[in-house]
């Protein structure tokens, strides 16, 4: 009597187990044709680098994505992708420009929670006239005194490349198609994921990105002109530059629905933005610790 399993069954097991692993990996993979909705619940904060700019506490974070054969939507990015090889994708994308978030009373990606702001040091902002032009040029400017900065819609191209070592390279070049700032921005991002054979549910991701912005973008959001202030000495026209972001994210997958997440990222503003008198900190930080539930 022999009951040995055939090799085809063994390969079926391997394929099935691989597909189960992938289906649980909602971080890096999506099921084609399915909407994915998840909610993060926890504690976190996104700091606002602007004077009187409102920090965004992070308690509840909704996340929505859909991946079709080509069309996809993923947390605010709408794209049409083309797979050149299984490692290389080219996409046309459109998304809201995130710089407006610093000036907003509410952040559109986190509208479920209230916002808070650091108290302003009034002595810095209470102008006692007359001031010399240099004093005016050195006086910090509260975002409350600035004219409104509108949200802009960007569109452009994106390239994603995935290496066998779990590294993702992402490059995009975008332009304002909404006529708000009429400039460009580009991003180069490198992201490396580590898995652990001893603790299989755990994955750790380290990322760094280089965000270039054009002079027109910098001027619209961080420049100070006659639209904001009548004191001519206080005008500021920033040049193009780049922000640098480093981030760390750890995920611990309990099952296909629940995972614990810890994330921290720090953005160092480009010098031309950091020198603007509306900027109080040259760095912006985001952290969050909590649980994520996939519906």
């Amino acid at each position: 009597m022999s009951f040995s399993a055939g090799s085809s069954e063994v390969s079926q097991v391997a394929t099935l187990e691989a597909s189960l692993d992938l289906s649980r990996d909602k971080v890096n993979f999506a099921e084609v044709g399915q909407w994915n909705f998840s909610i993060g619940i926890g504690l976190g904060n996104r700091s606002n680098p602007l004077i009187d700019g409102e920090d965004t506490p992070l308690y509840i974070i909704p996340s929505l994505s859909y991946y079709g054969e080509h069309v996809y939507y993923d947390d605010g990015v709408l794209g049409y992708s083309y797979e050149i090889t299984p490692q290389l994708y080219v996409s046309a994308i459109t998304q809201l420009n995130a710089h407006a978030g610093n000036f907003s009373q509410w952040h559109p990606t986190n509208f479920l929670v209230p916002t808070t702001s650091e108290p302003t040091n009034n002595s810095m902002l209470s102008n006692t006239y007359p001031l010399s032009p240099k004093e005016v040029a050195d006086t910090p400017v509260s975002v409350a005194l600035l004219s409104k900065r509108n949200w802009a819609l960007d569109a452009g191209a994106q390239i994603n490349y995935f290496t066998p070592q779990d590294i993702m390279l992402q490059f995009n070049l975008l332009t304002d198609v909404s006529g708000v700032y009429n400039g460009f921005n580009a991003q180069l991002k490198i992201e490396k994921t580590w898995g652990f054979s001893q603790i299989q549910p755990l994955s750790v991701k380290l990322s760094t990105s280089w965000d270039w912005y054009s002079e027109k973008l910098a001027n619209y959001y961080y420049g100070i002109s006659y639209l904001d202030n009548n004191e001519i000495a206080s005008y500021y026209y920033p040049s193009s530059g780049r922000n640098i972001t480093v981030g760390l994210t750890a995920n611990y997958q309990f099952n296909s629905q629940w995972r614990a997440v810890l994330t921290y990222r720090r953005t160092t503003l480009g010098e031309s933005i950091a020198r603007s008198r509306m900027v109080r900190h040259s760095k912006s930080k985001t952290f969050f610790i909590g649980a994520m539930y996939n519906f």
């Binding site: 009951f3 999506a30 994505s65 794209g79």
Partner: protein, 138 residues
């Protein structure tokens, strides 16, 4: 040594080697067959992955010696037999994913095991996400 003697020696040698090979093969076959467990059909097809496979299958096992053995679904005891060496009987299973079944002896050592595969008729197609996770914090 004449040519005939050489041929005769080769003849005996080939018989000896042939016999030895047959002995090894028969011993190996016996070794393979003395412990066996099969649950058939070994694959259960459900509509989609995650659905339960609730089905009557057939379990067959054969062990080298009579004894008291128990069937385990992973670490959970399902059924026990007393003083048995051969079993062939229906087995009702209720599993949602590929599961290992094993026969353990009285010392709770696994003596033989097998897997029942649960496969989806419509397995989901997956593709890479093209946006970094948690980029909502941008």
């Amino acid at each position: 040594m004449s040519g005939n003697q050489i041929i005769k020696s080769f003849h005996y040698l080939s018989i000896f080697i042939g016999g030895l090979v047959m002995l090894i093969l028969s011993h190996t076959t016996w070794a393979i067959e003395r412990s066996a467990l099969a649950i058939s059909p070994s694959t259960c097809i459900v509509k989609k992955l995650g659905d339960a496979c609730h089905k009557q299958l057939t379990i067959k096992w054969k062990l080298p010696a009579k004894g008291n053995y128990c069937l385990y679904k992973k670490d959970k005891k399902i059924k026990c037999w007393t003083n048995q060496q051969n079993i062939s009987e229906p087995l009702l299973v209720n599993i949602k994913k590929t599961t290992t079944f094993s026969i353990k002896n009285e010392k709770k050592h696994i003596v033989v095991s097998t897997k029942v595969i649960v496969n989806g008729a419509t397995s989901p197609r997956l593709r890479r996400r093209l946006r970094a996770d948690w980029s909502v914090f941008k």
